[in-house]
Structure formats: C-alpha cells, structure tokens
C-alpha cells in the first residue's frame, strides 16, 4: 500500500486538524457533485432541447463559485495555521488546484447550457446526436474521478486519465463531420459553430477530469502519472 493512503487512515494528534481536513475534503466533494450535476444537466438540456434545465445549469454556477472561494480560503488558512507536511501538504495544495479544475468544468457546462438554449430554437442537425455520446464519455470520467477522490483510489484515477484519449478521438471525428456539413451547406454554419464549441467544451471538461486524476495520484504517491512514451513524443 502506498505511504499516502496509509497515512490518511491514521489520526492526527491534534484532532481539530483532522476535522478541518475532513471539512475541506467534503467541501471539494460537494463542489464536485455540483459540477458533475451541471455537466449531466447541460448534456441532457442539449439532447432534449430543455431550456429550463439549461437555465438551472446557469443558475448553479454561482454556488460553485462560492464553494470555490470558501475552499480556497480554508486551504490557505490550513497552510498558514497548521504548516502541513508530506501527505497533508499535498492534499491541501492539491485542493487549491482541484477547485480550479472544478470551477472551469462548471463554466464549460454553463457555456454548453447557454448554447443549448439558442440551439433549441433552431432546426436539429444530425451531428447534434453525436454530442450526447461525447457528453456521456465526459460525464463518466467526471463521475469516476470524483469517486477516485472520495475513495483515495490512484488506480481508478489513472484509469480515468487513460480515457481522455477516447474523448479526444471522438472530438476529432465530430470536428471533421461538422466541417463537412458546413462545406456542403453554408446555411448550417451558425448551428455547426455552436456545436463545435460545445464539443470543444466537452473535450475541455474531460481534460479537467484528467487533471484531477493526476492530482489524486500526486496526493497519494507524491509522484506524477508516468506518461506512456507515445504521448511524450
């Protein structure tokens, strides 16, 4: 078992520190839950042309921002008052970065929701059906990476990290299809541009899930995920 995951099972001598750390962790889980819900709802709002659901996604953004601010303040307070070391230091430093990833995810979900409201008023294009598929892949990555965070499971995080390539491939394939559409019928350009941005947003959401996966591995092992050779070159 890695040094990191064992250490987290032991209690601190100063019990108040344990409570503060567990409060920090649950705030991140809460924020992650909100961002995950936003991504899920944005994808559904797009597929089902549900403008009310899209409005709900946009509304949630404020709560995510508030949580981000609270977590950042708590993390900085812990750094200043507890002078954490080793796994505690990694956990708190990564809390600051993970909230940033979650906040970006939430923003992308809002952006998708806004575009879905506009698209709901336009005729449906065939590539639109592909988007929910990418959306599902992204969503499963977000869900699994949050589970990996809760469970402190570096293997699960690494598995999420490897799935980023699937999303990249789906995005590239959709990108080609949209370009073909636009060339064939310039009247679809405005819709296609919206779809393209949505696809890009989903791809970015998957990137942030991947970032969080890397941070989970760093928290537990204190090392970076080793990139396979073909990705480094």
């Amino acid at each position: 078992m890695p040094v990191g995951s064992q250490a987290l099972e032991h209690q601190h001598i100063v019990r108040a520190f344990d409570e503060e750390l567990s409060r920090l962790k649950s705030a991140i889980v809460e924020m992650g839950g909100l961002a995950e819900r936003q991504v899920a709802d944005a994808v559904r709002a797009l597929a089902e042309r549900d403008v009310d659901l899209a409005a709900k996604v946009i509304e949630t953004d404020r709560r995510v921002d508030e949580l981000e601010e609270r977590i950042d303040q708590d993390a900085i307070k812990l750094l200043a008052l507890r002078q954490p070391m080793a796994i505690d230091l990694r956990l708190i430093a990564m809390a600051l970065k993970i909230t940033n990833d979650l906040e970006r995810m939430s923003d992308y979900a809002v952006s998708i929701a806004k575009r879905s409201q506009r698209l709901a008023e336009l005729p449906e294009l065939r590539p639109m059906q592909q988007l929910p598929r990418i959306g599902q892949t992204c969503l499963s990555m977000v869900k699994d990476v949050l589970d990996a965070y809760v469970e402190r499971n570096p293997d699960k995080a690494t598995a999420v990290w490897h799935r980023d390539r699937d999303v990249d491939e789906q995005y590239t394939s959709l990108f080609r299809e949209l370009v073909t559409y636009m060339l064939e019928d310039p009247r679809t350009i405005s819709t296609c541009i919206d779809l393209l941005f949505i696809a890009k947003n989903l791809e970015r959401i998957a990137d942030h899930a991947t970032n969080i996966a890397e941070k989970i591995v760093y928290i537990i092992h204190g090392t970076e995920i080793n990139r396979p050779r073909h990705e480094v070159e």
Partner: protein, 271 residues
C-alpha cells in the same frame, strides 16, 4: 510520419556534481550501560551543507550529535562501536586512540541554552584561541572580530567588548556562543536545539546565521522544530528508537517521505 525516436534520455543528474562527503558514519552503535541508544547508523554528512537530525524525544538524535565531539566520554559506562570518519584525513573520531580535545578543535558545538563563560565578550571568543596557544594581541583581535562578524554580532558589541558576556540578551548570548564556536575555525559546527530558549525574532537571526555559515563550514543541527529543519537544512535525517529511518534531501523528505514512520511523524500522526 515522423520517425519514432529511439534516443534514451541521458542521466540528467550528471550536470550536478555529487556533493562532497565531509564525514561518514559507519555501523555506529552507542551504549549507555546496557541500553543501546544508537543502532547501526550509516550516514554521510555533506560538506558545506546544513544537515538536520529530527525525531521524537529519545530517538537518539542528540546522542548522535554528541558522538561528533566525544561529549559522551565524560559519562561513565558508555561505549562506542563503529566509526565516524572525518575527511579529508580519514580519521575515526570515535576511536579511543583519537584525543577528544583534538576532535573538539575541529568540531565545535553550540548548545540549547546560551552558556557564555563568566568573562568578557572578548574573552569568551578568545578563549579557544588562547587554549590553542595564540598569544599575539593583534592576531587575537583580528580573529575575535572575524568570529563576531561571522556570528552577526560584531556591530552590536564592538563598543562594549569588555562587558561581561552574560550581560547580553538571550539571542545575543547565543550568537556569542556561535562566535566562540567559530573562533577556532572548526570544520564542523554542531547545534543542539540552538533556538529552543529564544524568542521568534532571535530564532530567525540564528537561523539566518546558520544558513549563511553553511558556505564555509559543515553544520549538523538537532532540532525539535520540524519547520526549523525545513527552513535551514539541505538534508534531513529522521531517527526513531535509535535507528536512522530515512535520510535525504530536505525538500523530498518533507514533501514525499518514503517511509510510513517518517510520514506519520511529519504530519503529526505519530503513535
């Protein structure tokens, strides 16, 4: 298609020359009567660097530090086994054949509580030099000034060198003891909890001094304050129950320790 590179990355650490070893501890055991206080310690101390020894009370860190200037010789029923080799001449300083006075000329020590001699500021610093046979007034003056400057105390005491050392503040007294330790141009300076009796400002000035000293001498410091070890040292050793548990660059030890015991101690989960 670009050809796949088959180049293997060359060793990046080759750019940094390996630090020079000032002293090597080899299979060191130490006994207080029947109690074994140090167990098979193996460790290299790097030249012109600060090395911190940390660990809970009773882990052996002060015992190890005291071996370096043969402080235990005065305690009855103690016994050394193994070696502490001091370079460049490769002498085993814990060998009974080596004169402890010679060792203390080369390795000086600063203690927890400032302990100036009941003499003037000047005489406190000149003491070790006089013991070594330095008599010429001009040489004494020059070396006392250099040591006081080295301990960042000169500007505060240059006009009152004949006042008693005990008249200084706690932080100044500790810096006087550091000046006394530096006066004989030691190769290694040992610090045993040098700031635990000082306020935070005096502590900061001693820490600053220790860091700046490392350019010219090798420093070994025992501290209960982990943040202090993190702030002043380049290498840290974690000891527990007389054993060396983990030893490495301070930065790595404090961010990602390899051993569970080290991690538990650093994060305050001990026991």
């Amino acid at each position: 298609m670009a050809a796949i590179s088959t180049a293997v990355p060359t060793a990046v650490h080759a750019a940094h020359a390996a630090p020079k070893v000032k002293s090597s501890i080899r299979k060191l055991n130490f006994f207080y009567g029947h109690t074994q206080a140090l167990k098979n310690i193996e460790m290299d101390i790097y030249e012109h660097a600060v090395t911190a020894l940390i660990g809970p009370s009773g882990c052996g860190k002060s015992t190890l530090l005291r071996c370096f200037n043969r402080m235990h010789d005065l305690t009855p029923h103690t016994r050394y086994e193994g070696e502490i080799r001091l370079y460049p001449d490769d002498v085993n300083i814990v060998s009974p054949d080596v004169d402890p006075i010679e060792v203390r000329m080369r390795i000086s020590m600063v203690f927890q509580k400032p302990n100036p001699f009941p003499k003037s500021i000047y005489e406190n610093v000149a003491y070790g030099l006089r013991v070594r046979g330095v008599k010429a007034r001009s040489e004494l003056d020059g070396r006392v000034e250099a040591a006081l400057r080295g301990a960042a105390l000169w500007d505060e005491v240059k006009d009152r060198l004949q006042e008693p050392g005990t008249a200084l503040s706690g932080g100044q007294q500790q810096r006087l003891c550091i000046a006394r330790a530096l006066a004989t141009d030691p190769e290694i300076v040992l610090f045993d909890e040098p700031t635990s009796a000082l306020d935070p400002i005096a502590t900061a000035s001693i820490e600053d001094l220790i860091i700046s000293m490392a350019g010219s001498v090798t420093v070994l410091i025992v501290t209960h304050n982990m943040q202090q070890a993190a702030r002043v040292s380049s290498y840290t050793a974690f000891m527990y129950l007389g054993e060396l548990v983990e030893y490495g660059p301070t930065n790595e030890l404090f961010t990602r320790p390899r051993e569970q015991k080290t991690s538990d101690y650093l994060t305050g989960r001990f026991g």
